[in-house]
């Protein structure tokens, strides 16, 4: 199981200010919902796919494409029946299968799904967990909330380890009782596993709470920070670039097509 969403690198997107990248997700998401011709969205989609290939490597394109492939097929199959207005493009035995409006809507949906997927993929894979939390702090998310995110991210890998240890222990315990090794457990067989893992997890809560209190959580004294996001000319440059990119995303909404 992947326990980190960040892929290490030194591309321009990795070095781009994480706050600007996160803010850009909003116009990126919005631009694919504007009522524009599909031809307008094609360059945006291509640019986002090229961005992933350039910053993360062409190999990174396979993972999202494999994951969303079935969804794209489903969109192509199930969108035309819900849009039957316009000129028929394809008829089978007198039944209209695809119309111009259906084809247009299908293309829009495919481009929307592709663009949003690759846009978010590019940003998420180039923002480290530390930068994500620091950015949330900069966006004025309360200190407690950021602490929750940090502790959760830190606890996930150890919980995965606990899960595998408990699974191995249960497997060893029942090794003599089963003649054949089942590949997949039935849902009922997950009960003892889940009970053990949950008890191990909830036992950590008072320990973690004690650790927070011993480190001064809840005190009113001024809080320092081990790390911070860069400020100065570079951050300002990234902010202006992000503004320009956001205007590019939003511009199609104001053009009469």
């Amino acid at each position: 199981m992947i326990v980190d969403f960040y892929k290490t690198g030194s591309s321009f997107l990795h070095r781009f200010d994480p706050r600007a990248k996160l803010i850009l997700l909003v116009p990126l998401f919005a631009c694919f919902f504007f009522r524009v011709p599909p031809s307008v969205l094609v360059p945006y989609c291509c640019a986002l796919i090229a961005l992933v290939a350039a910053t993360l490597g062409p190999g990174e394109l396979l993972s999202p494409l494999k994951a969303i492939g079935p969804v794209l097929v489903l969109i192509c199959l199930l969108t035309p029946p819900f849009h039957r207005t316009g000129t028929p493009l394809w008829q089978v035995a007198g039944v209209v299968v695809v119309t111009t409006d259906g084809a247009r809507e299908t293309t829009l949906m495919v481009l929307r799904f592709l663009g949003i997927t690759f846009g978010f993929f590019a940003v998420v894979r180039t923002v480290s967990p530390e930068d994500l939390v620091l950015s949330l702090r900069w966006f004025r998310l309360p200190y407690g909330a950021c602490l929750v995110v940090l502790i959760a991210l830190r606890t996930i890998p150890s919980l995965v380890g606990t899960w595998h240890n408990v699974q191995d222990a249960h497997r060893l315990r029942s090794a003599g009782q089963e003649r054949t090794r089942k590949r997949r457990l039935s849902l009922g067989a997950y009960m003892p596993l889940l009970t053990s893992v949950l008890i191990e997890a909830v036992k950590q809560i008072p320990v973690q709470a004690m650790a927070l209190e011993s480190r001064g959580y809840g005190r009113r004294t001024h809080r320092t920070s081990f790390a911070d996001l860069p400020t100065g000319p570079r951050a300002l440059r990234d902010a202006f670039i992000a503004l320009g990119i956001a205007m590019l995303f939003v511009a199609p909404a104001f053009i009469p097509w």
């Binding site: 969403f5 969109i75 199959l77 929750v148 959760a152 949950l198 997890a201 809560i205």
Partner: protein, 175 residues
């Protein structure tokens, strides 16, 4: 170590939300049964129902929303579902916890609470998916979400009972 510390201390609440969010993320990502439109069904709902019944509605809302959002971020291609999961599963945890709190030990009330949560998840993802992938593909995923929710209700209730019996201090940690 005193396991019966008051559950209202801010540090305890922070710790409980964080660790329960991590549990939700792990259960969402460890067992994944692929579906066509949404991506996968998983045991995340089990964690949310368990948290709602054991720790209360606010823990479930915050840890359920955050845990599923982190799981979506970790999935890579489906990262854009993170904000949607944050809201939908947060609402699920809140509703299940609030309804179950009316009669905390009544099994029928717990089932009703779980079913209400199921409806929120299936409806929420249907509406969100309708805008992103279209209503047709989104409709295909409704049975899978209902199945996932049903599994979550059954296992979540059983786990709440089992964990409370095996580790009694957890009964005092509801807030």
């Amino acid at each position: 170590m005193n396991d019966e510390r008051p559950a209202l201390s801010p540090a305890f609440r922070i710790a409980s939300i964080a660790i329960l969010a991590a549990v939700t993320t792990v259960l969402t990502r460890v067992v994944q049964i692929p579906t066509v439109a949404r991506g996968y069904i998983n045991l995340g709902d089990v964690a949310i129902v368990f948290t709602a019944l054991t720790f209360g509605p606010f823990s479930a809302a915050l840890s359920g929303g955050l845990g599923t959002a982190l799981a979506d971020l970790l999935s890579g291609p489906f990262a854009f579902w993170a904000p949607i999961s944050l809201v939908v599963h947060g609402l699920q945890g809140l509703v299940v916890g609030v309804i179950a709190a009316a009669r905390p030990t009544n099994i029928v009330v717990r089932i009703i609470a779980g079913v209400a949560g199921m409806a929120i998840v299936a409806g929420g993802y249907f509406v969100a998916g309708g805008f992103i992938t279209g209503w047709g593909p989104s409709l295909v995923d409704v049975p899978a979400n209902i199945l996932q929710g049903g599994v979550g209700v059954v296992l979540g209730i059983l786990l709440a009972i089992a964990v409370a019996r095996a580790y009694p201090p957890v009964r005092q940690w509801k807030w």
